[in-house]
Symmetry: C2
Subunit: 406 residues, 2 copies
């Protein structure tokens, strides 16, 4: 008898009919002789509605209160799912994050799971019950309710799978799996049958929104295979796991992109120790997340320092950086908010030269100018004009032969 | 510095504007130098909406799941109220029933409070915070969430007031207080300045819906004065307390009525021991609540047994009683569902004869036929034709000089 943890996203439980549909899927999993723990997100846009209410009563709602407020959304979905299962004749029980023993630190809105106290979940499983857990939430040592921030329900699911020793964590969403590229941009893109944790992390971080990197990291750490599949179809989905693929059919696994990129260049910076810290420490203090940083080779002790931020943070970043630029006697401060990122990702690239060169050649042939380049062992990212991102993704998808056979 | 517990009902917090209005009232109470604990119900018809959702996914939703589902309604209202107060610059924190230490038995949908573990509430009060508690809910020893059933939030408020040693429990609702009679029936009816617990219990049980008898009982038991007033006005409201009124201005305090009365008469019952049990035990087992029972004086060992039930339970009651009537060889079983109840209530009647006679005379003068009479020490109730209830209430209100001076 295998123990499986399933997670259903908000669109999968938006409305009574979809909840009943999900209940039938869960029941079918149990019918196959599995023990099932289910993690569920809030129904459809119910979280947004709660946030709207909060901003109607307060200009800046307390984070602690917001967490307690938002936690109700997942509880509503869990109880309804448990009721639907019981109505079908299955033993089921719903548990809030606190009841399910999801203990977190007290960083409201972005809490981290400290431990999972599985006693209650195990007790209910032993009674033969399907256990439905409200995702996205936990409880502090002082019994305060927290939410886990982005990717919270995915993280709840993988954390439960790890703590319970589940054989598999299935993340059900509204897409058929992890695609070789965003199918809205690339019609030939198709779901991958499998992908390594590392590759998935790069894909997830660099623009694929299917499963949150935080959950993938946790899966990697605890060796939990994660299946990403659609709750609306019976397609096989994508298995994220640590085993090397049996046959490396293609060394590039997928193309990721991101349109939310702005660039700041501090031009003519005197190249001496402490300059980078002088710029980036105040940015960190102002809460601006820096993505890529590139420093040109220094010519006569003068260099250019370029970095990227999310578009929404450009104004704040410029507000912080401009006075510093004057102070360190840089020549000027330039910004560009019309940028995007495109990345090719694949573990196969690791020990094989030539991928970067081929990527640059493909983009160049299309007349796409590369503004910045960053790489990891299994990823090459080019920052380009946002208007060219779509064309770049399509062209790279074709060039690296990722077209789906389907 | 006095500690005051306030309770706001669902209509008082229906929508962002009303929540902000309630927040201002709470703030004003603190501004006067009081410590304040607030108990809040779910917003407007949000509980009904959750119940509707439950019945969309399940024919007969599990009571345990329903409780966890419904508990979210009061949590939403509490967090929003705390946010609104913080936005006004007041320190406030919301607590779920579980966090506030409301421990109950595990009778879902109708749990009873076993104890209130006040540690957390006291800790927050000592930090100078206004504490907002989600009403209507509690937690079992197994950490399962329960709801308290009818009058739940009123009961939470009085239980907290008792456990915290509050000097006063203020129940804010959408009416100006406890009226001498239902103002929809009697335009001259006005709010009472004060009323005893016992009288209030009779009024509440016999048709006045302002504050739940369960909360009044608890208030009496722990000597907590309860002020019932409107959250939409600054009128003084009605103080429910145990002290004898300084001057007994009028020995009848109020007129209660109830239109939900049906009557069953088992005619020609052989009067021997065990007959009452033979009838009423099966009714109790079928879950039928019996209100009034009257047995006529026996003539030649044959008697009539009459009792009343809520109209909605008449059919089930007849289904149970008819075969029993045949079995015990009663002559026949009659029912009448077009009845109502009118009561005069007042501690002043206790040692003063003549009230019953006057009531019967007043009704008789109007040609209102009395079908059944029941009394307590401080109440006289007549069961009459439902079509005559309104006239009876008005006539009695005038006869016992309850017209408001306002």
């Amino acid at each position: 008898m295998a123990l499986i943890v399933q997670k259903y996203g908000g669109t999968s439980v938006a409305g009574a009919e979809r909840i009943k549909h999900v209940a039938r899927r869960i029941a079918a999993t149990e019918d196959k002789g599995n023990q099932v723990v289910v993690v569920v997100s809030a129904m459809g846009d119910s979280t947004d509605e709660l946030i709207k209410l909060a901003y109607q009563v307060a200009g800046e709602p307390s984070e602690r209160e917001l967490d307690l407020l938002l936690s109700t959304g997942e509880i509503v979905a869990s109880t309804l799912l448990a009721m639907a299962l019981r109505d079908m004749g299955y033993e089921a029980i719903s548990l809030s994050g606190a009841q399910a023993g999801i203990h977190t630190d007290s960083a409201h809105r972005r809490a981290r799971i400290l431990k999972v106290e599985t006693r209650r979940v195990i007790k209910e499983l032993e009674k033969g019950k399907i256990v439905i857990v409200a995702g996205f939430q936990g409880v502090t040592g002082e019994m305060d309710i927290t939410t886990l921030g982005r990717g919270g329900s995915d993280t709840t699911a993988v954390a439960l799978a790890a703590s319970l020793g589940a054989s598999l964590c299935q993340i059900y969403t509204d897409v058929d799996g992890v695609y070789t590229a965003d199918p809205r941009l690339v019609p030939e893109a198709g779901p991958l049958a499998e992908i390594g944790y590392e590759e998935m992390l790069e894909l997830a971080t660099y623009g694929a929104k299917v499963v949150h990197p935080r959950a993938v990291e946790l899966g990697e750490l605890y060796h939990i295979p994660i299946l990403v599949a659609s709750s609306f179809s019976d397609k096989p989905g994508t298995l994220i796991h640590g085993g090397a693929p049996m046959e490396v059919r293609n060394k590039v696994t997928g193309i990721a992109h991101d349109l939310d990129v702005a660039k700041i260049t501090v031009v003519g910076v005197p190249d001496r120790p402490g300059i980078a810290a002088a710029i980036f420490q105040p940015l960190a203090q102002a809460g601006v997340s820096i993505d890529t940083i590139v420093q040109n080779a220094s010519i006569e002790h003068i260099t250019d320092l370029t970095f990227t931020v999310a578009k929404g943070e450009l104004k704040e970043a410029m507000r912080v950086v401009e006075p510093i630029a004057r102070q360190i006697k840089a020549r000027e401060c330039l910004s560009d908010s019309r940028l995007g990122k495109v990345s090719i990702i694949g573990t196969g690239m690791q020990n094989t030269p030539g991928y970067a060169a081929r990527m640059f050649a493909v983009l160049s042939e299309r007349g796409i100018n590369i503004q910045l380049i960053t790489t990891s062992e299994i990823r090459i990212t080019c920052i380009i004009d946002e208007a060219k991102v779509e064309e770049a993704v399509r062209t790279l998808h074709r060039a690296f032969e990722l077209e789906s056979g389907e």
